[in-house]
């Protein structure tokens, strides 16, 4: 059990900066998710912690111990790889026991740990098989089993679910969460999938181009994204963005997108007012745009004319691809909606739930 600290961690690959001055403190027993698009430095950050790559600058601590110069085997970590990286010439049992044998544990304890983990993961009947004879989901569980028998201070997982099909991925997600609850150990998890990040992480660190964009709980990331990138990355479908100008009129602040105008929410009036006359980016989540007939009570409605471009029925909801003026955006509306492709309809924005960003810095204005 241990907390993990990144202090000014930087990694260069030649001229490319993979990780740029990463500072983050991960508490003991926390489930932290590194998320971002490919090439954002999330895997590199994890590999630096594992000791598989050397850092260019900065310090990494596991517990109170500076691990910069400590080889992977002595860092008290276990890692699950994207490809699972099972030893193809060893049986499932030997795959799981390998690390324990190297640590010279007594045979009886190795056997007890391997069988216990296998039982927990439902792979007891596979212990004598070679990895080649396993399905993808089974291999994934063996890879997790190989990590848990080690009983490490920190679990590292590098996109462990990305080679599974959608159904198995949901199951494996739940399995890993159960594991985290039971083991009460620090988990650090890398994924490019924001759904995985949202569902599993107790905190999420969003990375882009090697720079940490925001680190917080899933709820905060969703409700109060710090910048346009985080706002667009977290949530599915993505947040809609409208280029707008901030106007001051009759003592109120209005964001004018050309197609519609939205008055500042009461709580954010001062912040909006300060940007009067400037270019801003208005962010609206698809679920804050409603069919007027099914709009929930308690919202501050803003009616906007729109043309339905595409309609996608998801079963429990409908995604409408809309056009207003020169803006394209997506609304996530009630499935009973009568809007069909080609219709000119009126939609209702919840004007209370607006996100505002500076057009130049792309930082949130609050």
């Amino acid at each position: 059990m241990a907390q993990v600290t990144y202090e000014h961690v930087t990694k260069h690959w030649g001229d490319v900066v993979a990780v740029n001055d990463l500072n983050i403190e991960i508490a003991d027993k926390e489930f932290l998710v590194f998320v971002g698009p490919s090439g954002c430095g999330k895997s590199t950050s994890l590999r630096l912690l594992a000791g598989l790559d050397d850092l260019t600058n900065g310090d990494i601590y596991i517990g109170d111990r500076l691990v910069n110069e400590i080889p992977p085997k002595d860092r008290d970590i276990a890692m699950v790889f994207q490809s699972y990286a099972l030893y193809p010439h060893m049986s499932v049992y030997d795959n799981m026991a390998f690390g324990l044998k190297l640590r010279k544990l007594p045979k009886a304890e190795i056997d007890q740990r391997v069988r216990h983990a296998a039982q927990e993961l439902g792979i007891e009947h596979l212990l004598d098989r070679k990895p080649k004879a396993l399905s993808g989901g089974q291999r994934q569980r063996v890879a997790v089993g190989r990590a848990i028998v080690r009983e490490p201070a920190v679990f590292l997982m590098d996109e462990p679910l990305s080679n599974l099909d959608a159904k198995l991925r949901v199951e494996a997600r739940a399995m890993i969460q159960r594991l985290h609850h039971r083991l009460e150990t620090t988990f650090i998890y890398v994924t490019h999938d924001q759904t995985e990040a949202m569902t599993m992480g107790s905190r999420i660190a969003v990375l882009k181009d090697g720079i940490l964009q925001q680190v917080n709980t899933p709820q905060v990331l969703y409700d109060k994204p710090d910048n346009v990138f985080v706002a667009g990355f977290i949530g599915s479908p993505s947040m809609n963005f409208f280029d707008a100008t901030m106007i001051q009129e009759n003592g109120g602040a209005y964001a004018d997108t050309g197609a519609f105008r939205v008055r500042a929410p009461e709580s954010k009036r001062d912040a909006w007012m300060q940007t009067a006359g400037r270019r801003v980016i208005l962010g609206v989540r698809p679920e804050d745009i409603h069919d007027p007939n099914y709009a929930p009570p308690g919202i501050r409605p803003l009616e906007v004319e729109a043309l339905v471009d595409v309609r996608e029925l998801m079963g429990n909801e409908v995604f409408l691809y809309l056009k207003s003026g020169n803006h394209d955006y997506i609304a996530r509306v009630d499935p009973r909606t009568a809007a069909y492709v080609g219709n000119r309809i009126e939609v209702v924005f919840n004007a209370e739930n607006m996100h505002l960003f500076d057009a130049e810095t792309e930082q949130a204005l609050r």
């Binding site: 594992a50 000791g51 598989l52 080889p71 992977p72 085997k73 970590i77 276990a78 890692m79 790889f81 994207q82 490809s83 990286a85 099972l86 030893y87 193809p88 010439h89 390998f98 690390g99 190297l102 640590r103 190989r146 080690r150």
Partner: protein, 320 residues
């Protein structure tokens, strides 16, 4: 009415497939099947191939009848006077020498090839290092033999033009007759073989090593394995199928070794090998019966390794 459509190619009857095969079968028959049977036939006949080999039997010595040439091929080099001399003469015979060649050259080329493949993987000038080690493969064996003949040259005069001996004398030592000292000369020849073939083994083993996913190596590193253990317990087992193929290929190559011995010692001074003996009987002594008998013995020795190789190849194909 449903009518099963038979592709035209299925309607060709029994003759057409043979027509397609005919050119290959004819060529194979003329150049491989017929010579093979002819070789076996000749090996059972006398020097000129006109009478049964039995007529060449001497009256007082042992005789294997129609297999007399095989008696010669297998036992002529052996001194049967006592168990000790049997062993000594066998170890110095072409068969004994071929065994030395197999033991030393196969371990040498495969071991060095693996070592170089592993080490060069970690240096920046990998391509250069590999090119240098592979280069001897591009030289003909006869050429390599001539080059090394200079290296091993032993001058009876004061001046030593051989590289090794000039170094030895330069350091104040005595020159060594590398190629005419029995026992030592076979080792010197094997060294040339290793020099030529290490590049081949290195190339194939290097490709196999590179195909081992790096995540497996990293997983074993996180699991706590030292570099030594990673090599022996992860890398070697994973590339074992390739190592076996390289070993059997090298065994076949070494069993057939001829050029190096022919060029450098001519099989003299106790450096004889099976293939050179075959050549000597056939083209120097003009004894087609004995020459072909040695050839058949050599083929019989090679066949098991060919079978291993083909089996491995099929297994690999089946895995795709």
């Amino acid at each position: 009415m449903a009518e099963t459509v038979v592709p035209k190619i299925m309607k060709q009857g029994k003759v057409t497939p043979w027509l397609y095969l005919a050119p290959a079968l004819i060529v194979m028959t003329i150049f491989i099947v017929y010579p093979m049977f002819n070789t076996i036939g000749l090996s059972l006949r006398d020097k000129s191939g006109t009478a049964s080999a039995a007529v060449t039997c001497s009256e007082d010595g042992p005789c294997w009848g129609i297999f007399e040439n095989y008696r010669y091929a297998l036992t002529d080099e052996i001194d049967p006077s006592s168990p000790a001399t049997i062993w000594q003469s066998f170890w110095a015979s072409s068969y004994g020498n071929n065994i030395k060649w197999i033991l030393l050259m196969v371990t040498g080329t495969v071991g060095l090839g693996l070592l170089v493949a592993l080490l060069s993987d970690r240096v920046r000038y990998e391509a250069l290092a590999k090119a240098l080690i592979f280069m001897p493969m591009a030289i003909s064996f006869v050429g390599a033999g001539v080059i090394w003949k200079f290296v091993y040259d032993y001058g009876t005069q004061q001046v030593q033009i051989g590289l090794l001996n000039s170094i030895l004398t330069g350091l104040g030592g005595k020159p060594v007759a590398w190629l005419s000292t029995p026992g030592l000369n076979t080792l010197a020849l094997i060294l040339v073989g290793v020099w030529i073939w290490t590049g081949f083994c290195m190339t194939i083993l290097s490709a196999a090593l590179k195909s081992v996913p790096s995540e497996i190596i990293e997983a074993s590193r996180v699991d706590g394995a030292s570099e030594w253990r990673i090599f022996w317990q992860i890398l070697v087992p994973i590339i074992m199928p390739t190592i076996v193929v390289v070993i059997t290929t090298m065994v076949i190559n070494v069993l057939k070794v001829f050029d190096i011995v022919y060029v450098m010692t001519g099989g003299n001074y106790g450096s004889e090998v099976i293939a050179n003996r075959m050549y000597t009987e056939m083209y120097k002594n003009f004894h087609s019966g004995r020459g072909t008998a040695v050839a058949v013995v050599l083929i019989v020795a090679i066949v098991p390794f060919m079978i291993i190789n083909i089996r491995r190849f099929r297994e690999q194909e089946a895995m795709r």
